[in-house]
């Protein structure tokens, strides 16, 4: 086959250059970051690398993890979902609030339905107004505010106390094969989401939609349906996160989700999934989640107050964005 005069062909690529194009900074950077953090952590405290502490970290990030992997789908589709904070709060209070009436399992089903409705709402509004990335940020910001206020209205501002039946307790404190339930759930959903994203036509369609939505639309891909489904996925996963959270903390607070969206964005961005859409995967996000988990742990070991943690997180996200930006422009120059 005749080779065409492309720029890549004319370049006599050195071995190093070829390695660099294959292994993209997006993959290596975060893993490196994680390793560095783990090293720092182990220096700071002798108990850091114990099984107990590690499980502790993993359990604490399970809720974040579920939200982040769901958000990964949305971000690959080149949209954003800022309503996750409100969704988390609402899910937490609804599950506990409905428990006395329909039992835990009934409450879970009900909340999943609500989550599906929320995702559907987000997706439909954006479809109707033909919104773009910026629109998705603003609209979901608004819907998130609505959900948060609904949580407050539902409980009147009070925190609810759950009924501790075995099903409910399992989600936060139970275990399977001696691995804490939250971790199991995170692993379970991560595997499913990863497989779907990488190996199914639906997953491929999300990438196509995010990379160039107009070209995808003109190729017959139902971009609106796809994006709406991603919203529904993240809402459902966040709801399960709300359940785990309530089960772990033994109460359901209507402000449980405050700040959640920041953590989720942080995890996705730090993990290396580009906010430009059309690229990224579950594995990267999980690494980002781990980084945040270890980071939180390190913060506690250092003794940073809650307030200081807020500040630190803000700074870290910006740092991650800068790296993402640098990586993007490198990729464009290479391509």
């Amino acid at each position: 086959m005749e080779t065409v005069e492309t720029v890549a062909e004319k370049r006599n690529e050195t071995f190093l250059q070829r390695v660099r194009t294959k292994v993209d900074l997006g993959d290596v950077g975060p893993i490196l970051g994680l390793i560095i953090l783990i090293i720092i952590g182990s220096f700071l405290s002798p108990v850091f690398l114990t099984k107990g502490n590690l499980f502790n970290i993993l359990t604490q990030i399970s809720v974040l993890g579920l939200g982040a992997i769901g958000m990964t789908y949305v971000v690959i589709g080149r949209f954003f979902d800022l309503s996750v904070a409100g969704m988390l709060s609402l899910a937490a209070v609804l599950i506990v609030g409905l428990q006395p009436y329909v039992g835990t399992i009934g409450a879970i089903f009900a909340v999943i339905l609500v989550a599906l409705a929320v995702g559907l709402l987000n997706g439909t509004i954006l479809q109707f107004i033909k919104g773009d990335f910026g629109a998705s940020i603003m609209i979901t910001f608004g819907t998130g505010t609505i959900l948060a206020s609904l949580a407050l209205l539902y409980t009147g501002g009070f925190t609810l106390k759950p009924e501790l039946d075995p099903v409910f307790s399992w989600f936060g404190n139970g275990s399977l094969f001696s691995i804490p339930a939250p971790i199991i759930l995170l692993i379970f959903f991560s595997i499913i989401l990863h497989v779907v994203l990488k190996y199914t036509t639906f997953g491929r369609a999300i990438y196509l939609t995010g990379a160039n939505h107009e070209a995808a639309r003109l190729s017959g891909i139902p971009i609106h349906r796809i994006r709406t489904i991603t919203f529904m996925i993240v809402a459902v996963l966040v709801s399960i996160g709300g359940l785990i959270n309530s089960s772990q903390t033994l109460n359901a607070s209507p402000v449980a989700g405050v700040g959640f969206e920041l953590d989720v964005i942080a995890a996705v961005a730090i993990g290396g999934t580009s906010l430009q859409g059309g690229a990224g995967n579950i594995t990267r996000t999980l690494i980002g989640v781990l980084i945040i988990g270890v980071l939180n742990n390190v913060f506690v070991l250092i003794g940073l107050s809650n307030y200081d943690q807020m500040m630190a997180k803000g700074l870290i996200i910006i740092a991650a964005l800068l790296l993402d930006r640098r990586n993007e422009s490198n990729l464009i120059r290479k391509g």
């Binding site: 608004g142 819907t143 505010t145 609505i146 948060a148 997180k313 700074l315 910006i318």
Partner: protein, 315 residues
């Protein structure tokens, strides 16, 4: 233009008038002078920030950090006050606004980061900072100068309102009649073109954030004076409200279109709504709900209308 078209182009004004009528009917207390004065005084703080936000949105950017900057500025001022005296404290707080705006603007203009995410991070950062420095507690601020500025009156009109009027006039004049102002429209309208004409896009992008943060600092100063204390908890709804005001008023999020008078109208629509809900004793949770719904509706409408226009223009 047909009558319908003429009416539609003034839709914001009509909604405003409608709201005034509706409010007067819904509550007998609405139209009394004391209430109205209270309304406008409350509005003045958000109003100053809305003027600044108009500049930001015209440039096709976003600033979510204004509430946090407002809170932090208040705390900052109160903390340095014992060491520097009131007047210097006020000046330094405004300088703080400049510095904060510059940093934010730099990240967005020079490092090319998305303004929404950056200002979201900034919001958490300054919020955290405010809480950290104040130990999570409001700090009292009693000072005659400050009290005069924020609660005093001049010729019978509360000072904040006067500040608002002066700044509104100034902001409007600058946008309409100066090179600086027209260039802001140019940068928001088409960045590429503006750049090719030698307009320093980076400069304008930074300056609008400086303007926004200074306005937030000024708001923080005034609010602290009004409440006689600096609280790290204020401002949580500020960004939401102010941006809503700007968008409701008709300044498009796409950049390059909009004006100060429009923002003022949007501000009043929101203000009247807020005032009315207060008069009717509607709980603040409901207010947040309404704000959220309003934001979704207004932004949705903005995008929807724009997409219709694009279809027509594309050919």
């Amino acid at each position: 233009m047909t009558i319908v078209k003429k009416l539609y182009s003034q839709k914001v004004l009509i909604i405003l008038i409608g709201m005034v009528i509706f409010a007067s009917i819904s509550s007998p207390n609405f139209l009394n002078l004391q209430n109205l004065t209270f309304l406008v005084t409350q509005l003045s703080i958000f109003g100053i920030m809305a003027l600044a936000m108009t500049y930001v949105v015209l440039n096709k950017e976003f600033d979510l950090s204004i509430g946090a900057v407002m809170a932090f500025s208040g705390i900052f001022m109160v903390k340095i006050m014992p060491h520097t005296g009131m007047i210097l404290a006020i000046v330094l707080t405004l300088v703080l606004g400049v510095v904060i705006g510059f940093i934010t603007g730099f990240l967005i203009a020079y490092l090319g980061l998305n303004s929404f995410v950056v200002t979201l991070c900034a919001m958490f950062f300054y919020n955290g900072l405010a809480l950290s420095v104040s130990d999570g507690r409001p700090a009292s601020a009693l000072d005659p100068v400050l009290t005069y500025i924020s609660s005093g009156t001049f010729l019978g009109i509360p000072n904040p309102i006067i500040v608002l009027i002066i700044l509104t006039a100034g902001a409007d004049y600058i946008l309409r009649k100066t090179k600086f102002g027209r260039n802001i429209y140019a940068v928001g309208g088409d960045e590429q073109v503006a750049r090719l004409t030698g307009i320093s896009v980076k400069f304008y992008k930074i300056i609008v954030f400086v303007i926004s943060s200074v306005a937030a600092s000024l708001g923080g100063i005034l609010l602290t004076g009004m409440l006689n204390s600096a609280s790290p908890f204020v401002g949580s709804d500020a960004a939401l409200t102010v941006i809503s005001a700007v968008v409701i008023g008709g300044t498009s999020l796409a950049g390059g279109e909009g004006s100060i008078p429009k923002t003022i109208m949007g501000l009043f629509i929101l203000g009247i709504l807020d005032n009315l809900l207060g008069l009717l004793n509607v709980h603040s949770f409901y207010q947040t709900f309404i704000l959220g719904a309003l934001l979704v509706f207004v932004i949705g409408w903005d995008f929807y209308a724009r997409s219709k226009k694009q279809v027509l223009a594309a050919h």
